[in-house]
């Protein structure tokens, strides 16, 4: 990585004569934001230097996304704040197009793509909507889009509608767009730009993260800066130079990454010390709860697996290895090519005849990975989202017991630390991590016999993750079986009794007992590539050239 001082001295107009310290790209002072009565940000000040990768950390609801949205001109901050960009004082609130003029680009937590438009239209949105010419040169736009996609090693069709893409592909598309925009902006302004990445990684598999980091480094090497938001401390330690931690909307502290330890960062985020998780219990022999035979989906080749009663089974692998389909297939949420499940040695249920309703009736629960598309409805209240599968339970004496529903939602929100805990709010008023807590609470509250999870703690902060894990372990100890598909080795290592590693649609490795560690899982994932013969086909990023 190019050091900050190198950039500063080689930069064009960003050094003032005689100045030792480079002019910050972004300088925020005393920024506050109030929603209704709730303070999301109070008096936040920090600087981002040219060429640096700046980590913005904090618990769920600490105000990270709010800060990003203020910079995007989406929220107006309270009066009294100040903002300088490359030395230019910018009047607040920012006008909608300001960020583009200044040279900022965004990957928002919800990605900010238009689902009903194509990849091409999303990627070239700016050029298509703001071009001066009277007509659109579609062949040229198509070529530009294709060039951008190939440059980033992505091979999806520009004419594909975005809502047909997988969450991973959507995340990559949003990232490519942000980097394209910043390149374009830099070509015009000649000044360093700023890319803001609001939790870009939860959806990305390990090689996607590696690719992203290569891009981030190449952008930083050219003198632009990056603000990186993530709940994954290891990622933050790998990529950032400086860290600003927010807690309850205030700056809790700043750190130089190279001098900080993992524990130190976690403590600053959470505001208390988190004990290392308990050592793993020995392998226990459990009665089989569910036996799955011949399960095959779009990518998954016919596979057998079983999960014990009270066992937490992890599924992982590289992207496209088929593991991510398993929870959906077992829930009857996606058409399967073949497969049957037998519960506690009972009769086999053909999965092709199972639908979500039937699965729920059998005590299954599914928490999908695509929070906004498949898990919760943003524009409806928290309480309705929480009790969606059990609305009928609240229908008594000829009417919905709305009061009882809200009270129970409030109690459940307290148990799962949803903040703010106001069940009448729309789901969209919650921060990403808090929304995920609501949806986890929905299913845990039903005490399912088999809980199927896909990336359950995406966007959930370190402190709350521990609580969710504890709740899962407790429920498992009481007899709930869990199948958890995740690309996050750390998460799997922490909760799983056993982990299956997939490659090319088949189970290629099984880890249990003391082998279930973060490194063990990550290693098995990569080993799976060579095990399965040919290497993975995704080309690597090559922007640095």
């Amino acid at each position: 990585m190019v050091s900050v001082s190198d950039i500063a001295s080689s930069g064009t107009d960003m050094t003032r004569p005689g100045a030792q310290i480079a002019l910050p790209v972004l300088s925020v002072s005393n920024l506050s934001k109030t929603f209704g009565g709730a303070r999301a940000l109070r008096g936040v000040s920090f600087k981002v230097l040219p060429g640096e990768v700046h980590g913005l950390l904090g618990k769920n609801g600490s105000g990270k996304s709010t800060l990003v949205k203020i910079l995007a001109g989406f929220h107006a901050p309270d009066a009294g704040g100040g903002l300088e960009f490359n030395g230019e004082t910018v009047t607040l609130p920012l006008k909608p197009g300001d960020y583009r003029r200044l040279g900022m680009s965004f990957v928002h937590q919800n990605l900010g793509l238009v689902p009903s438009l194509t990849v091409l239209e999303n990627l070239r949105l700016v050029q298509l909507t703001t071009a001066k010419s009277a007509f659109i040169n579609w062949p040229a736009e198509r070529a530009a889009a294709r060039a951008a996609l190939t440059r980033f090693g992505l091979d999806f069709d520009p004419e594909q509608r975005v809502d047909k893409l997988t969450p991973v592909e959507r995340a990559l598309l949003a990232i490519v767009r942000a980097f394209e925009e910043i390149e374009a902006a830099r070509a015009i302004t000649g000044k360093p730009g700023l890319v803001l990445l609001d939790e870009p990684t939860p959806f990305l598999p390990a090689e996607g993260v590696a690719k992203l980091f290569a891009l981030v480094r190449s952008i930083a090497a050219l003198g632009s800066s990056v603000i990186f938001i993530s709940h994954d401390i290891d990622e933050v330690m790998e990529i950032t130079d400086h860290i600003t931690v927010l807690r309850d909307g205030e700056v809790a502290g700043e750190l130089v990454t190279a001098k900080a330890t993992h524990a130190q960062i976690v403590e600053m985020i959470v505001g208390r010390h988190i004990a290392a998780s308990a050592p793993r219990a020995a392998i226990i022999d459990r009665p089989v709860f569910a036996r799955v035979e011949n399960l095959a989906g779009k990518l998954l080749e016919p596979s057998e697996l079983d999960v014990g009663k009270g066992e937490i089974l992890g599924l992982t692998g590289l992207i496209g290895s088929g593991y991510e389909e398993v929870p959906y297939l077992l829930f009857g949420a996606r058409p399967c090519r073949s497969g049957a499940i037998a519960i506690e040695g009972g009769t086999r249920i053909e999965l092709s005849s199972l639908d979500p309703k039937g699965a729920i009736d059998r005590g299954f629960a599914l928490l999908p990975g695509d929070r906004q598309g498949a898990s919760g409805v943003d524009s409806l209240p928290i309480v309705d989202n929480m009790f969606l599968p059990d609305v009928s339970r609240f229908f008594k004496a000829g009417r919905m017991q709305n009061g009882a529903m809200v009270r129970e939602a409030h109690a459940l929100g307290t148990a799962f630390e949803v903040r703010p805990n106001d069940p009448g709010l729309k789901l969209s008023a919650l921060s990403g991590g808090n929304a995920q807590k609501v949806l986890i609470a929905r299913w845990m509250n039903r005490s399912p016999a088999l809980l199927l999870l896909d990336e359950p703690t995406q966007g959930v902060d370190v402190g709350t993750r521990e609580q969710i894990f504890a709740a899962l372990r407790k429920a498992a100890a009481e007899g709930m079986s869990v199948i958890c598909a995740s690309s996050d080795a750390e998460q799997l290592a922490e909760i799983c009794d056993r982990v299956l590693v997939f490659a090319k649609g088949r189970i290629c490795n099984q880890l249990s007992g003391a082998d279930v560690t973060k490194d063990g899982i990550a290693e098995a994932c990569y080993a799976s590539v060579s095990l399965s013969g040919a290497a993975h086909t995704t080309p690597s990023a090559s922007v640095a050239s």
Binding site: K357, E408, A415
Partner: protein, 295 residues
């Protein structure tokens, strides 16, 4: 699940802007009445005038409800006006020209509307054609059938029993038609706000995949909504025939825009950037689609 002892914390402070949004239309309505009363003190503000307005807009009110049901479930039904005209014309043709007893005619009309709803469902749900396209198409087809059936002429002389049941009899000086619409609206409000079905409709409209993965029979809900829409439009057609005392093959479509206006305004806020563009969203579950406001 232990902390139910402090429900007080659950109640949010009253949001006055939201409250205002909800009653704004009624205020405008009151202002309009005040304005016309001031301009035409003699002829406007008398009970006779109001009772006529209440009765003559009852079909439009039912039509608005017919639009709201599928709209909540995420489907547009633009054919409600055509279904209304079809129903009214059928009453004219069957009752006046073929002398079929009015009771049987009404049954036939309702059965026909069920067929209309099923055809919509077949194309929208089974063949996955966008609802706007399908219902625009059936509008043309039904308008054609109406012209053919009636020879493009107005048919007078519908059975007095129907006319009496709609505008002949009065309660508190207001024709029955008004009460039919009122009852329908109250039932709808109850279903939307106080039954699980209402919640399911809402989730199907706002997040179809979410609804499906939570065990809601999405297709059945959409089918039900489309059927309900057609049947309600037919009821509106019956009221219309009763209000006019005749079957007019042209004017029914005029109700379409006022009914859509009422459906959207009744929803109070139309959210920009919603996942289903143009579908209005109730400000919260506890606010039903407000009654279509009479002019």
């Amino acid at each position: 699940m232990t902390d139910i002892s402090k429900p007080a914390a659950a109640s949010a402070p009253i949001n006055y802007t939201r409250l205002f949004e909800r009653v704004a239309l009624l205020i405008v309505w009151a202002l309009l009445i005040g304005l016309f009363t001031a301009l035409l003190p003699k002829s406007f503000l008398n009970w006779g005038n109001f009772s006529i307005m209440f009765a003559s807009y009852a079909p439009a009110a039912l039509l608005a409800l017919a639009i709201i049901v599928p709209l909540t479930a995420g489907d547009y039904d633009l054919s409600v006006g055509a279904t209304l005209t079809l129903s009214a014309s059928m009453i004219g043709v069957l009752n006046v020209w073929y002398d079929i007893p009015i009771g049987l005619v009404l049954l036939i009309v309702l059965a026909t509307s069920v067929v209309v709803g099923l055809v919509h469902a077949l194309f929208i749900i089974y063949f996955r054609v966008p609802s706007l396209v399908v219902t625009l198409g059936t509008t043309s087809v039904m308008s054609g059938i109406v012209q053919w059936m009636t020879n493009s002429s107005t048919i007078g002389g519908i059975d007095n029993a129907l006319i009496n049941a709609v505008v002949g009899y009065r309660l508190f000086g207001i024709p029955y038609a008004f009460y039919y619409a009122l009852v329908a609206a109250v039932i709808m409000w109850y279903v939307f706000d106080y039954t699980p079905l209402g919640r399911r409709l809402l989730f199907v409209g706002r997040g179809r995949e979410v609804a499906r993965l939570n065990g809601i029979a999405v297709n059945r809900v959409r089918l039900g909504a489309l059927l309900m829409s057609a049947v309600l439009s037919a009821c509106a057609g019956i009221l219309y025939a009763g209000v006019l005392g005749s079957a007019d093959p042209y004017s029914g479509l005029n109700y379409l825009l006022p009914a859509f206006a009422a459906a959207f305004l009744g929803a109070t806020t139309i959210q920009p950037g919603d996942s289903t563009p143009g579908v209005p969203s109730w400000p919260s579950t506890s606010s039903p689609p407000a009654l279509p406001v009479y002019p």
